[in-house]
Symmetry: C2
Subunit: 568 residues, 2 copies
């Protein structure tokens, strides 16, 4: 403590009214080597961390003293040894400071510094060889040939390995030829890697290839195929290294989300999980433990956990997932129940936009630079998420019986404590390939049973609009080829038409333009924003609405854009 | 999916009993560019990830097929578009993949790879300049002069900065001279660091020095002194850089635990906390928010949270702390209540050894290489922790009224569901400096009111033994100089005697030998191990007992060492 080193017996009689006066015979700072012998009636000014001079047995804090010339008034007595730390009370010679096999934290490094250790011997980092297999893979940065895809797994695995504090080395992409794979694995083992990880091609056959190669190289297979979803084609084995020590060989599935999930399950990093509520209904894989990727949002009751349903082949399954939930083998349906989420890393929260997807939302987010999580569950899904207190904002475009947009549905579904903000007007219509002889609505109506259609998913505003269109014109749904084919986004529709898989799709004009398709309008709709009332004060929500009002969008904006048009 | 690409209408009639037979007209693997036009009645063998040939609109999984020569039997119908992923359903051209200012996770890196981005522009890492101040500091690895200490904060801060993914640069140790500090801070700012962190000397004056220097360099002080414990002398300000942008200057307290705690509070890393139970009584700092370092152990009811009470100057406060709890300003006493622990990192659990400290335990742990957390709360504290279901093992040495060791206390304190394992025999006695004319017990008894003693803390077995010794001989405690001075460990006693601060201490022979002190025995005692019954099956507990039995200890081992001598 900063204060005065004293002989405690000198201070026994001191109190606020009757201070003891001692003669200050010196001053000691931290780092000084004092050579003072303090006698009765004397004190030494002393700083925290400074050594105690001989003769003194206590330190009185500066707060209880008053200096006057070369004396000091002491206003409080101190007990012997008060405010003194003895040698050996922290660490004594011969004491254990750190145990073998400790993972060094900043605090452990501090302990090493404290005992003067500048260098210590540590184990070398685990070395992991990364090999990607599959004829379809191209390394990012190079031109993408037709029907090829970029190699993703090498990079997600490398980043995950670095997160764990291990080292990795790339061995590149190897085609599906066995001899190439043999050569590369051999090289990886000769390079003294501890683990060789192959992220398989997408094909089921690639796990057999990996298993073959392990055996061909004199190794052993421990596991070939796991009863989990995703991750069935996982292979685990070992091949003896130069030093005789077997090197672990792991063949991971090819789908990026599967690959990363199985990696996380096998090479557990920091265990981190949260509990949340799963508000939807999900039918689980039969006969396998399922690791379902999920996205987590804050809800009024804690956390809401949404499945990421794009499939483990999709990249956006990766970026949208905060973690996964484990559905045990016997469990068939997950519905409206609490779940535990194993996190991939930190959850990035921000604004939760749950509802119908629109490119206008992307533009607003980009322009406002708001961090948001968008979950596309369609207009009805968004409305329900607001009702449950999960989403902050839901984009909806729902055509009611009487032609009114959105408001009738808020009443029908008894949404409470929310407001509807007027958004913008989107033109919906048919998207048609430019090479087809379909230029007007009449052309389409005349040929409606001749061409191949693609529809949108149930619960989407576009589907409701299309159904109404058919009903009003008395057209039998069963006459429409592809009526039951459901695309989940406008862009999936656009792409299906643009690539010639179908002839006609239904969707918004903006997407038709994006894919250079002919657009034949069938109607205008209001794409509005349903917002939880309690979120209206949220700075991001305010920013969102402000941006909606002022930003240039490829849609028509009504005069009351950004204004509350309904309260429920 | 692996299987056959088909025209879905061809399969409508297929079932288990009436398979549809299709002609296999080709095979497409992932990465292939197919040029096949499939007609009615035909199928193409296809691998997951491969492009769909023209004419086909669905894939039937291989599980529902059987190949026969150049035909395939289809045992189940597929709907149009089943098992097909459309272009654009994952990411479409123009879609937002990653938002600006995203901290790149492995999954985000995967998304970049997927769209072929090998390189992207990222913000440079935050650069932090680290300066240690204090005349008493010596850089680890160099010889430690008298009354000096090694610089710890530079290293704990550097490791913490690296944990956050930032860069750091060392500017070394600067003494307490203002001109040196001015020069070093100037250099750190010229080097384009974003933040300059000074970890102050231990003295309170060093925060004033930092504040002075900030003002001298044309900077601004935002905060000088914080109402928290530890961390009062924290200084926060800024100094304009070459680019005109103010660089943050932070002066942290000098005590290692204070320094790291305030760093963690100011530069919040990942937020991680757990809830646990605080079983003891702790009197909090008045008028300040207190950040109390704690050690966490698993208990039968969740987590038990023990304060780390060595003081923020102690290094072991650092290594023993798993995190800290926040005691709000108005709260005076923390006692037997739930607390939230803000974690420094992962909690390393392992065996919990809570009780009296003995060097024998350190030896057993070192030899067995068991990872354990030892919390020194004295014999009574250890016994109570076992009773509450917190500690796994407690080392105890408690002398009962009738001369029997340990067992009477188990009965007195009504400990249940535990066993007492016989440990070893320690000799307790007086430790005396070799230059004093005290060679026998009689010498000490004759001079008992002449020499300066140091005692052990209440609740320690040694204290109980010493009290009994005095009582049996009818010696008045008040006659003993220093009876009320309490050292918390044997080694603190040894060091106090060895350095001449006191003349006589009470403790075990092993420590007397370690400090080269004369040892005058007053009795033998049993140092036994109290173990929770449910932990007897634990592999680490078994290993601990096995090691106790066979390892060489600097203590006498009775024949029944390692055996259960009492069950309660």
């Amino acid at each position: 403590m900063d204060g005065y080193a004293v002989r405690s017996e000198d201070t026994y009689m001191a109190d606020e009214d009757n201070p003891v006066i001692l003669k200050v015979v010196g001053r000691i700072r931290a780092g000084d080597t004092p050579n003072i012998q303090v006698k009765s009636g004397e004190a030494v000014e002393i700083a925290t961390g400074a050594p105690i001079p001989k003769g003194c047995d206590a330190v009185i804090m500066v707060e209880y003293t008053e200096k006057e010339g070369d004396t000091v008034k002491i206003y409080q007595g101190v007990a012997p040894h008060e405010n003194i730390q003895y040698c050996g009370s922290d660490i004594m010679a011969g004491e254990l400071v750190l145990r073998k096999d400790t993972v060094l934290s900043p605090r452990d490094i501090g302990a090493l510094a404290a005992i003067g250790k500048k260098k210590i011997k540590v184990k070398r980092k685990l070395r992991v060889a990364l090999i990607s297999t599959g004829d379809e893979l191209i390394d990012p940065g190079r031109p993408l040939g037709e029907c090829k895809i970029y190699d993703v797994n090498t990079y997600t695995l490398a980043a995950s390995i670095r997160e764990r504090g291990w080292d990795f080395k790339f061995y590149g992409i190897v085609g599906d030829k066995e001899e190439d794979l043999v050569k590369t694995i051999k090289r990886a083992i000769e390079d003294n890697n501890d683990i060789v990880i192959l992220s398989g091609g997408t094909s089921a056959g690639s796990s057999d290839l990996t298993a073959n190669v392990i055996e061909k190289l004199g190794g052993e297979i421990y596991i070939h195929g796991m009863k989990i979803k995703p991750g069935k084609p996982t292979v685990i084995g070992s091949i003896p290294g130069k030093d005789g020590i077997p090197k672990l060989i792991v063949g991971l599935p090819g789908y990026p989300t599967s690959c990363l999930t199985v990696f996380n399950v096998l090479f557990e990093g920091e265990k981190r999980s949260i509990r949340g509520h799963f508000p939807l209904r999900y039918i689980s894989a039969k006969g396998r433990v399922e690791y379902l990727p999920v996205s987590v949002v804050r809800s009024s009751k804690g956390y809401a956990v949404y499945p990421v349903l794009k499939g483990s082949g999709a990249i956006t399954s990766l970026t949208y997932s905060d973690g996964y939930i484990v559905i045990e083998e016997g469990k068939e349906i997950l519905e409206d129940e609490p779940v535990e989420v194993h996190l991939f890393g930190n959850i990035k929260f921000g604004l939760s936009i749950i509802g119908s997807h629109c490119i206008g939302v992307d533009i607003i987010l980009r322009e406002s630079n708001i961090y948001a999580k968008t979950i596309n569950v369609g207009s009805i899904g968004g409305l329900l998420s607001i009702k449950r207190g999960e989403g902050d904002i839901a984009g909806i475009h729902l055509l009611g019986e009487d032609g009114e947009y959105n408001i009738p549905f808020l009443e029908k579904y008894k949404v409470r404590d929310a407001v509807l903000i007027r958004g913008y007007i989107r033109r919906q219509g048919f998207m048609v390939r430019r090479d087809l002889p379909l230029e007007t609505l009449e052309d389409i109506l005349k040929n409606i049973d001749r061409y191949r259609f693609i529809n949108r998913n149930k619960g989407s505003g576009t589907r409701i609009l299309f159904d109404k269109f058919l009903e009003e014109r008395g057209i039998d749904k069963s006459k429409i080829k592809g009526y039951n084919i459901e695309a989940k986004t406008h862009s999936a529709v656009g792409m299906a038409v643009a690539t010639g898989r179908v002839d006609i799709g239904v969707g918004i004009e903006t997407v038709a333009e994006m894919y250079n398709l002919r657009f034949i309008p069938i109607g205008e709709e209001y794409y509005d924003f349903l917002i939880r009332s309690e979120k209206l004060e949220d700075e991001n929500v305010i920013k969102f609405i402000e941006t909606l009002k002022k930003v240039d969008l490829p849609f028509k904006k009504p005069l009351n854009c950004g204004e509350i048009i309904y309260r429920c």
